[in-house]
Amino acid sequence: MKHWMGFPMFPEQASSVAGRVDALYFFLVAVSGVFAILIFGVITVFIVKYRRRPGKMAVASGHGHMWLELVWSVVPLALTMVMFFWGAKLFFTIYTAPPGAMDVFVVGKQWMWKFQHPEGQREINELHIPVGRPIKLTMISEDVIHDLFVPAFRVKNDVLPGRYTTMWFQATRKGDYRLFCAQYCGTEHSLMTGWVHVMDPPDYQNWLGGGAEAGPMHVIGGKLFDQLGCATCHKNDNTGRGPTLVGLFGSKVTLKSGQVMQADEDYIRDCITKPNARLLPNYEPIMPTFKGIISEEGLLQLIAYIKSLTPPQAAKTGSETK
């Protein structure tokens, strides 16, 4: 945090977009400053020059001049268009995860953050990530709306119950950066904070390898897939009562209603929690709902497993939806 005479003035720039957000910020400050000084200056001059003096009557200043009105409408409009385009372009950069980003799954729960690395690493209120690599966060809440906010990276996104939201960042400087919950979520909203530890890749690997673990997410997902009986109906060779899930993730699915849907994380989550919401042609809706039986972490692990059934090059991450 940059200080000026002991006052904290400016947050660190620790992500790939931070510099560009700050550049936009300085542009906006400059435009506001110019207009503020322009207006305050003109007003001060006028109130001094035309202060009420005996015998000095106000002189007709006319009803107003069309061209002047035009100028001070078009100029602000032009400036706002610049702000709009620059802001919109940056917004899409902030929210479009680059291909091949490292996945991290986030579950927000009243008043703590649970992070899960695909390798199975699980953390509470702490997130260890390697510097220089784009990290894509897939987030969901178990209760109310939360919001994961890392000021040093200049990014945040609400975390909704019942629907996945995603965001990404690429840390550019090592160090520890605060993360906050930025959407009011109840009594201990202000305690739902934590740290992002940005480490050199080797240190990150050591940290990752630091201790025994039940196995990577997709392996746990596989176990869960068997335990819950999914495997009885979903056989990889498509001989079960339900469709094979090999190659499902990322593919286009045509429902019985003819509607074509992209099988992304949300789609699979809905298939598991609300099976009859998406009926498939030539299959009976016999799949039981697992809502309330599998925790959010369990769902994420099942999805990781189903993703792993799709050969790597076929799966493409969903781009920003319209």
């Binding site: 109130i47 106000a58 709009f84 990014v155 909704l160 201990e188 909203h189 202000s190």
Partner: protein
């Protein structure tokens, strides 16, 4: 100033009847305005105490003054009371009720009984709110976001929702009354383009009050239903969508912020014209921009939901339209500045408030542009940057306008002049205290201090202490007018009909005016703000 020593008329709307009945069952728009003045001042003091407690708590990083849940109740009650029970009613129900009939040469509003009903409905809503506050308050934030407000919160959300629901009808009744009065009861010769700009501003505000308030009423009713019957129109577990609530809530709540600022803009137009003895520069443009803000204001609500999971496509549209809605405000600021050109400017207290309004509204407004910029809002959403934006434009803007209007028309309302020097001092103290309170919050916001945080990291403490220091100065600043205005009721000099030499039909009546305002309905032959008779254009 009038040459002869000004005298108070023997009989006027205040001393014609002192009985409680005559006040509680009055149909005189002027008395109803005073009833509202008393009620909203009570709520302003209540809201300010909550603000004072918030600032006291935030002096230290760890929460050692109140518990977590109580702090959450502090900012929720502070937000709710200040918005729904102070700022939305303030100018329309006090200055609007008092002045609109007089400014258009009418004896009263179109529906006096509806006007009194508006005050009773407001008070009933207020009683519900006070009960909710006494019974333990509400901790959902003034935004009532579901599913927290509908399922997880165990505080008096339903009572509060009913209170705000009922008070909403006070806004609807007042708005309806103004629209019909302005359309149908103008004095002969008073065409639309000869109306004072305050009347235009109140007309634009009334459109929003009438079209927007019902939406918040039905939304809060749905939240109430969900809490009472546990059925989920907004509950994700039962298939409801929390984003639908946000859309319905902000569909009203953004236009609501324009309900708060437009009347102040109307007051400032009157003050700038009177104290610079000049016709408002570009009268028609300023009049149309009030209506433009009101109408386009209904199309931008999504800029509160850029990072809430709303699609990027919607974000683009709402960001673009938010910039369009800013243009009329910009035009107004430039026209006010141009009105000072070649004027004959005096620095009475109302003028100081008007100039303060222009300055602080500009800062508040341009920071709104920061928030409307998609890329910027991602970082500063739900941080103190937003808190600073809306306090600059609501406290710095709307309240400055309200104070200016109150001082400007005080002689007409009470027949007495307030002490000028004290008023100028108060204006200065408020201006300084205000900036010290809220400017540091811009820096805090960009540093990333989130909103609604009871405890915060230690590195934010210095700026928070500055803000709290400013709040206590601001608190003192607000108390001053309370004292000297009450003092002036007894010992203020007699004002006479037109102490400022201002234009406008309301200055034709004695101060304080008789109950029926005008013996005969005046006929208007000249333009608004015709301070220089020599070019008395037809208009």
């Amino acid at each position: 100033m009038t040459t002869s020593e000004p005298t108070m008329p023997p009989v006027h709307y205040l001393n014609c009847d002192y009985s409680i009945r005559s006040w509680l069952l009055t149909q005189d728009h002027k008395r109803i305005a005073l009833l509202f003045l008393v009620s909203i001042t009570v709520f302003f003091l209540l809201g300010s105490t909550y603000a004072g407690m918030i600032r006291t708590e935030l002096l230290t990083p760890n929460g050692n003054v109140v518990s977590h849940q109580n702090y959450n109740k502090l900012f929720t009650m502070h937000g709710l009371i200040m918005i729904f029970f102070f700022l939305i009613p303030s100018i329309p129900t006090v200055l609007g009720n008092f002045l609109i009939p007089m400014m258009i040469g009418a004896r009263d509003l179109a529906f006096p009984r509806l006007n009194l009903a508006s005050w009773y409905v407001y008070t009933l809503g207020g009683i519900f709110t006070i009960t909710a506050a006494v019974a333990g308050g509400v901790d959902t934030g003034w935004t009532f976001y579901t599913p927290y407000s509908s399922i997880y919160s165990h505080t008096n959300v339903t009572t509060m929702a009913v209170g705000v629901f009922i008070t909403g009808f006070s806004s609807i009744f007042t708005g309806l009354n103004f629209i019909v009065t302005i359309h149908k009861m103008r004095a002969p010769g008073l065409t639309w383009f000869r109306l004072p700009l305050f009347v235009w501003a109140i007309y634009a505000t009334s459109i929003i009050m009438v079209l927007g308030t019902p939406v918040i009423a039905i939304t809060l009713a749905m939240v109430g239903l969900e809490r009472v019957f546990h059925i989920g129109i907004f509950d994700p577990a039962l298939g409801g969508d929390p984003l639908l609530f946000q859309h319905l809530f902000w569909f009203y709540s953004h236009p609501a912020v324009y309900i708060m600022i437009l009347p102040s803009m109307g007051v400032v137009s009157e003050l700038i014209a009177c104290f610079s003895r000049n016709r408002i520069f570009g009268y028609k443009i300023v009049a149309f921009s009030s209506v433009a803000i009101a109408v386009v204001g209904f199309l931008v609500w999504g800029h509160h939901m850029f990072v809430s999971g709303q699609s990027a496509y919607a974000g683009l549209i709402f960001s673009f339209l938010s910039f369009l809605v800013a243009i009329p405000s910009a035009i107004k600021v430039f026209n006010w500045t141009a009105t000072l050109y070649k004027g004959s400017i005096s620095y009475d207290a109302p003028m100081l408030y008007a100039l303060g309004f222009i300055g602080l509204f500009t800062i508040g407004g341009v920071t709104g542009l920061f928030l409307a910029t998609l890329g910027m809002d991602v970082h500063v959403h739900d941080t103190y940057f937003v808190v600073a934006h809306f306090h600059y434009i609501m406290v710095g803007g709307a309240i400055m306008g309200y104070m200016g209007g109150l001082h400007f028309w005080w002689p007409k309302i009470t027949g007495r002049l307030y002490p000028e020097q004290w008023a100028r001092l108060a204006a200065l103290v408020i201006f300084l205290g205000f900036n010290l309170t809220f400017f540091p919050q811009f820096i805090l916001g960009y540093l990333g201090m989130p909103r609604r945080y009871h405890t915060y990291p230690a590195e934010f403490q210095v700026l928070n202490v500055m803000s709290s220091a400013g709040a206590s100065i601001l608190g003192v600043g607000y108390m001053l007018p309370l004292f000297y205005l009450l003092w002036s009721l007894r010992r203020g000099p007699i004002a006479g009909p037109n102490p400022w030499g201002a234009k406008g039909l309301e200055w034709l009546t004695p101060s304080p005016p008789p109950t029926e305002n005008f013996e005969q309905t005046p006929v208007v032959t000249e333009e608004a703000y015709a301070y220089r008779p020599e070019e008395n254009a037809s208009g």
